[in-house]
């Protein structure tokens, strides 16, 4: 009887496994087709918007007017499809069990095509990832897959889309594991490989097996050249930081503007981009033509320096004003220009034989990708697959590693995580292992006390007897947490004669907090840092307090649970 049940279960498991395999193929094909269609649509609409030889007026008006239209769409019809799409896909996998509303891939397709085709300095790969993931989610939802399977299917769709967008199946698999799932050893490797292969097969059957860039074979000409590549890696790290920080700060500025301006922010970007592309048309859109030229030594150093600088600014403008498009392609563009410029200097002045500047442009692409996107393995394989050139792998790894390390040292959060944080979404990190902890913050937390309004004076807070027993108070505005102020800080403020000032002046940025899924070690460590009251906040709305953990409460909880 028991044996029969086991056999049936085993058969059922195999059937489900096979079903999932078939689904990964279908999702891979659909995601690949969506990426191809997205790319073709951008190409077509660009031609439609600008014609063969656009006038200055047209160069200015198209991004301005189109952005006005997309601004309306992005606020009223398709909220949640601004920007790249990769952070949203990560959030969907980690926080929503792979649930992506059906309007997201549709909206991303439409607004992505309009934004990129109208000249915004953005890439098509990030949107492709979100569209592919959205298709996978829709398929999973339609088939009523359980949440764990839905969660698995979304990275598969993302990998399929990226594989077709770049014609890079291996890099797409690595990206799905490294960036979307956040674990190179994830058990999903088989499914992502299948989807990537299926996607690339359909992509190549439609567009042919052409690499994205035509690059001559480059070699390491002299061992000393590795030092030059190391310099390029360092420069790549610095540029990655400039780009990421610029992007985050500009976006933060626009986010601080009143909510009613949201609809018009893309148009502000459109005006600025219109003026930019009149002066420097080479930065409009995806810009792979110019990357190709840099890779083939077709640009002089002055041009490459100019394009590098203008592309950084243009991408920051396009992205921070809320347009729909990615940062993959801009990071490759900036890297190619920076690498080409450095390569030209090295080629001219190095006392040893060196490769052409194009080789440095190639390595620069990888270095910037590793520094900005923070996916070093994806970067190495992507450059290899794009160029189909093995010879440059060692310099590429050296530069990538340095760029990655520098970027991580000065900005610990990868740009996608930082963007999500700006939106109040905190993704689980490596400290939150799924299902492995004895207890979590959610188990130990107490109900959250009412937030003290930020305008309340220090004296006013101290005068409230119900707060006297708390070692710290939570300060907020409405239901939004602003920070935590300890009793010691309040006492110091009184001594310093600031009792009449509002409590908000004592609130520091980025208060220490925990999320409900945080394990014991994280909770204990953060309670110690917090000054006695650790707010536990929602991952999807990081300003929303769901409870607090106090030292006393934690001690009681541990005592109750037993050793």
């Amino acid at each position: 009887m028991k044996l029969q049940r086991t056999t049936t279960l085993r058969q059922l498991w195999l059937r489900e496994h096979q079903l999932f395999l078939v689904l990964t193929i279908v999702v891979g094909v659909l995601a690949g087709l969506s990426a191809v269609l997205f790319s073709v649509a951008i190409d077509w609409v660009t031609r439609l918007f600008f014609g063969l030889d656009p006038t200055y007026l047209r160069l200015f008006l198209i991004p301005t007017l189109v952005s006005l239209g997309t601004g309306v769409l992005l606020v009223t019809v398709f909220p949640g499809v601004r920007g790249s799409g990769v952070p949203q896909t990560k959030a969907a996998v980690h926080l929503h069990d792979g649930e992506i509303p059906a309007r997201v891939p549709i909206g991303k397709f439409i607004t992505g095509v309009l934004c990129i085709a109208s000249g915004h300095s953005m890439g098509r790969e990030g949107p492709s990832v979100q569209i592919g993931a959205g298709i996978a989610s829709a398929v999973g939802r339609w088939l009523r897959l359980p949440p764990d399977r839905m969660r698995d299917l979304v990275p598969v769709g993302a990998a399929g889309a990226l594989a077709a967008a770049f014609n890079t199946p291996v890099a797409a698999v690595l990206f799905a594991l490294e960036e979307i799932i956040g674990d190179l050893n994830a058990p999903l490797i088989g499914s992502t490989v299948v989807a990537s292969v299926a996607s690339v097969v359909v992509e190549r059957s439609i567009l042919g097996n052409e690499p994205l860039f035509r690059v001559p074979t480059y070699h390491l000409e002299h061992p000393a050249e590795l030092a030059a590549y190391a310099v390029l890696g360092i420069a790549g790290g610095v540029l990655s930081l400039i780009f990421s920080q610029g992007l985050l700060r500009a976006r933060a500025l626009f986010m601080k503007l009143p909510a009613r301006t949201r609809m018009f922010q893309p148009a502000i970007g459109g005006v600025l981009i219109g003026l930019t592309i009149i002066a420097v048309p080479a930065v409009m859109g995806v810009g792979y033509d110019y990357v190709d030229r840099a890779l083939n030594g077709g640009l002089v150093i002055q041009t490459m320096v100019l394009l590098c600088a203008v592309k950084i600014v243009a991408t920051i403008v396009s992205y921070s004003t809320g347009n729909a498009g990615g940062i993959f392609a801009p990071s490759l563009y900036i890297g190619a220009m920076a690498g080409g410029a450095i390569g030209t200097v090295v080629h001219r002045f190095a006392p040893f034989p060196t490769a052409d500047p194009g080789a440095y442009a190639l390595v620069g692409m990888g270095a910037l990708f590793a520094g900005i996107i923070r996916a070093p393995m994806t970067s190495v394989f992507m450059i290899f697959e794009i160029t189909q050139d093995y010879q440059i792998l060692v310099p590429l790894m050296v530069a990538n590693l340095l760029s990655f390390m520098i970027a991580r040292r000065f900005q610990p959060d990868p740009v996608y995580h930082a963007l999500l944080k700006q939106d109040g979404v905190h993704l689980p990190g490596p400290e939150s292992p799924a299902g492995g902890a004895a207890w979590t913050a959610a188990d130990a937390m107490l109900p959250a006390p009412a937030l003290i309004d930020a305008s309340t004076t220090v004296q006013g807070v101290l005068g409230r007897p119900e707060l006297a027993s708390w070692p710290a108070v939570l300060v907020g505005s409405g239901h939004e947490l602003l920070g935590v102020v300890s009793s010691a800080q309040l006492a110091q403020a009184v001594v310093a004669g600031r009792a009449a000032e509002p409590i908000s002046v004592l609130v520091a940025d980025n208060p220490v907090h925990a999320h409900p899924d945080h394990p014991p070690d994280v909770v204990i460590e953060r309670v110690a840092e917090s000054g006695g009251v650790l707010p536990v906040v929602d991952r999807e709305h990081a300003r929303h307090v769901v409870g607090v953990v106090t030292l006393d409460g934690l001690a009681r909880f541990i005592a109750r649970r037993g050793p």
Binding site: V29, L37, W44, L52, P216, D289, D356, G358
Partner: protein, 368 residues
Amino acid sequence: MEAAQELKVVTRELRAIVLLTGVAVAAFFLTQTVARANHQRRQADAGMWYERGHRFLVAGDAGQAVPALRRAVALNPDGLRYRLDLAAGLIGTGAYGEARRLLLDVRQASPQDVGVNLALARLEAAHGDSATAAGYYQVALNQMWRPQDVGTRYQVRSELAHFLLSRGQRSRSLSEVILLAADAPDRPEARADVGRLFLDAGDPARALASFDEAGAATPSDPAIRLAAGQAAFALGDYQRAHRYLRGATALSVATDLDAVVELVLSTDPLVPRLSSVERERRLRAGLQRARQRLADCPTVADGATLRDDLDRFESAIASRARNAPPIGDLLDDGVELAGRVEAAAGSCTPPGALDRALVLIAKRHEAR
């Protein structure tokens, strides 16, 4: 009951998979159709940009041609003539490095393509390495040529021969010119071109034969007669050279070669059918001219030795008994001495026609 439930689930899933597959197939064909239409549109745009760029290129405005051709190549990266024209434009703007990389990239895809190899050969010939250039020329020439393209092959080989000659590689050039002669069209100008190449490559005999073929068709072409005269002159056949050159002069082609040839013929003491008196007169005239040249060039190397030789030789002639037999073997030594003096004095002052004639007379009889 459980089995029925399971069957229901399996059926639903199967139906869903079939439906999804149908959607995927339909989406594939839709995408393919859209992509094809876009591809055709890109091809058409590329064609327009190419036409524009090509017009500029033909008009010699490489600066305007390159941006248009770049667009054509971006829209249609596989367009071979687009890329070749772009390479030509880049060469025109001085972007040799990029042009070379572009051509090498094209060559990677079509290593045997004549146009690509030829473009690379021309690029290397103008701005790179001679051996590499010659290699690309050879690759271009060694391809299978269609019968209707033999004329092009002739032009390419002619270009290679000229290139090798310009780099001083006469023997390599000669082998190319020999092959070229076999391909040469049956037109007098082509034969004459081949003849000139033979002449430059150091084979005056073949050159003269080619000029004779060309001249047979156009006997009154002064340029061909002049070239034939030069070939005959280089061969040392002064009679024939004189005949051709006289014809060229009569046809109003100015040449000092004719004067030299005339002097060779009129001052050589060793030509047949001359009286002893005339031979001696010519020899004395030659030696006198040689002495004059030495006097004009006091700083000439070995001047003193040469003067002594001249003195001794003239004494030897003078010491002969009056009415003695013809000077005979003294003639050879005299001609050789006059030639030696003239050759030495050539580094001092530019030689006149008579001086050149004396050197040639000495060379003419040197081998005998």
